[in-house]
């Protein structure tokens, strides 16, 4: 039974150890070197927030620790995450994760914990050099812990797999901007999530099929060229000369935020009105857009340098330098893509989200786009109110 089958769509965390031969490395932060981990013959699997995780953290974490960390900790304290062979934490991203890794090591001393330290400063050669060395050290520790060295061929095929996934996901994102009703947002979020949980050919085939079908529809409408230009523009971060001239009866909404779960956002939209999640044209979330629009690794380069460059090529996170750039990018998207409203998601007790939110709201108002803030926790404890909030917002856009 593979890991992917064990993890159900209802976002339950497996309680039974996987019977497969797979070595599964769980990870928390979106910009994880998937190709590198796969090249070691290890499966990287994004650890999901579970709406059913409660308590278990009180003896170790204060309540002001970010709600994502408390949720993961609660899962572990409840015996979950046991199908993982190890867990990868990021360092130099935020203060909750920085501390929780240490606390985790103390509380669960039998767990294999790995750390990857990211640069927070400008993405130029110095940051690339630093991150490549960190990746090399990480690769060594994978080899030493699991007895699996990095395989060059493995790296090539992993890069191919990940590129296929990203390419298909990018196509879906771009097509949906032209017509969100082509594929439900929740579907795209699910397929992305599925790949991040189990990066294998099945997951890629699924998303590839959806991307092909969607491209075909747009091709028949004569819009495939526009979609492709959009995709390139989004990848480059500039959007070029593209403008959308869509007529739309449903409001066109963009969702921005950090490490919130896109499927949770989708389900909130589905519960808040007749148009459901068709109103979501685009997200700028860490586990959505920023994962999907990561540049490909350059196979001509040393694998560590190539991976570092790929990771540092994404639009920056609130955990990094680059706020002015992020705000400019947001404004460009809002004005060029005919967006009627912006939903700013904030993970409960998340410093990066909460510092960024007022700037995002202000940027949106500078291009005359109304916005609301959506405080969200992994347990969706306030689901009814959140749906009500979204519904009210959509009513103001009518």
């Amino acid at each position: 039974m593979s890991h992917g089958v064990v993890v159900e769509d209802s976002r339950q965390v497996p309680m039974e150890p996987s019977t497969s031969q797979e070595t599964i490395l769980g990870y928390v932060y979106p910009h994880t070197p998937l190709e590198l981990i796969l090249a070691h013959g290890i499966t990287p699997s994004l650890v999901r927030e579970s709406p059913n995780a409660h308590g278990g953290f009180e003896a170790s974490l204060q309540t002001f620790s970010c709600s994502l960390t408390r949720n993961l900790f609660s899962q572990r304290a409840g015996g979950g995450l046991s199908s993982l062979s190890g867990l990868l934490f990021p360092s130099n991203t935020c203060d909750s994760l920085h501390n929780v890794e240490d606390i985790w090591r103390h509380r669960f001393p039998e767990d294999q914990i790995f750390r990857l330290t990211y640069p927070a400063a400008r993405f130029d050669e110095d940051s690339v050099r630093f991150l490549s060395e960190e990746l090399r050290i990480f690769s060594e520790s994978l080899k030493n812990t699991f007895g699996r060295p990095l395989s060059k061929d493995g790296f090539l095929s992993a890069a191919s797999l990940v590129n296929n996934f990203r390419s298909a996901a990018q196509t879906l994102y771009s097509c949906r901007i032209l017509d969100p009703s082509l594929v439900p947002y929740s579907e795209v979020a699910r397929m992305v999530r599925e790949f991040l949980t189990t990066p294998n050919v099945n997951a890629v085939r699924q998303i590839n099929e959806s991307a092909s079908a969607t491209s075909q529809v747009l091709d028949e409408r004569g819009q495939l060229g526009t979609a492709k230009s959009l995709q390139e523009g989004l990848l480059a971060g500039t959007l070029g000369d593209i403008e959308i001239a869509a007529e739309s009866n449903t409001p066109r909404v963009m969702v921005v935020g950090g490490m919130v779960e896109p499927q949770a956002i989708a389900s909130l939209f589905k519960g808040s009105g007749k148009s459901g999640d068709d109103v979501v044209v685009l997200d700028l979330l860490s586990f959505g857009f920023k994962t999907v629009f990561t540049p490909q690794v350059n196979l001509k380069d040393d694998p560590f340098v190539a991976t570092a460059r790929s990771i540092l090529g994404i639009p920056s996170e609130p955990t990094q330098e680059g706020l002015p750039g992020r705000l400019e990018f947001l404004k460009r998207l809002l004005s060029r893509l005919l967006i009627h409203g912006l939903v700013v998601c904030e993970q409960s007790f998340c410093d990066p989200d909460q510092f960024e939110a007022p700037s995002l709201v202000k940027a949106a108002s500078e291009v005359c786009v109304p916005s609301i803030r959506l405080p969200i926790d992994p347990e969706l404890s306030d689901r009814a109110r959140l749906e009500g909030r979204i519904q009210s917002f959509l009513e103001t856009l009518d």
Partner: protein, 259 residues
Amino acid sequence: MPGRKLGIGLDVGSTTTKIVMVDSQGDMLGSHLVPTGASGAVAARRCLEELTKKSGVGTAGIPTTSTGYGRSLVDFAEKSVTEITCHSIGVHRLNPEIRLLIDVGGQDSKVIHIGENGRPTDFELNDKCSAGTGRFLEVMSRVLEVSIDELGPLALQSNSPCTISSTCTVFAESEVIGRIGAGESPKDIAAGVHAAMASKISTLSKRVGVTTPVCVTGGVALNPAFRHYLSKQIGAELWMPDSPQLTGALGAALLSLGL
């Protein structure tokens, strides 16, 4: 249906359920209010029955819009719209000058910027924390051993409110107990409680931006001390409709005219 056009609005809140019927001009023909109790659906039906009796008008077939926390429970409503939109429309009908609406209910508080067409253009909610809602005052009135209706007049007797610094209802409660134990006068403590609550609502309002004239609605609006301290903190006069609890249902009823 031949004859005049009518509209019904139902506001199913967590504490009370309200119904309003309007004519084609948007004037109120009748209304009713019941405690929601354990079933919003039952409360909604009861309201409808009472309205039929009171108004002498057959309500079957009249377009109905539901709003409020329990809006999805009203099976006979054609449409459900959130209370942000409905309060905005209702207040706009009663006083089209109003640009800022502050609604403080039993369980949450909202600040809504009303556009010129009566629709909300911006809003902020406090729906996670009980401090800044009617709940806060309920807890404090129990500690001070007065009824919730007596709390406001008691506070108005004070010229020197105590400072209640906790922003959390639980901590504020123990702070108040501490002050009672220290022999401070109940009226000063009551005043401090209202000032603390007004401060929280004031911060929420400033996030939307205080544009006058300002209207206050919701159960807590009936409290004169709350209005006094809120007015001071936001630096503006407050207008209150005659029936502040019915504005949501009124807005919903007006929306029904468009159905």
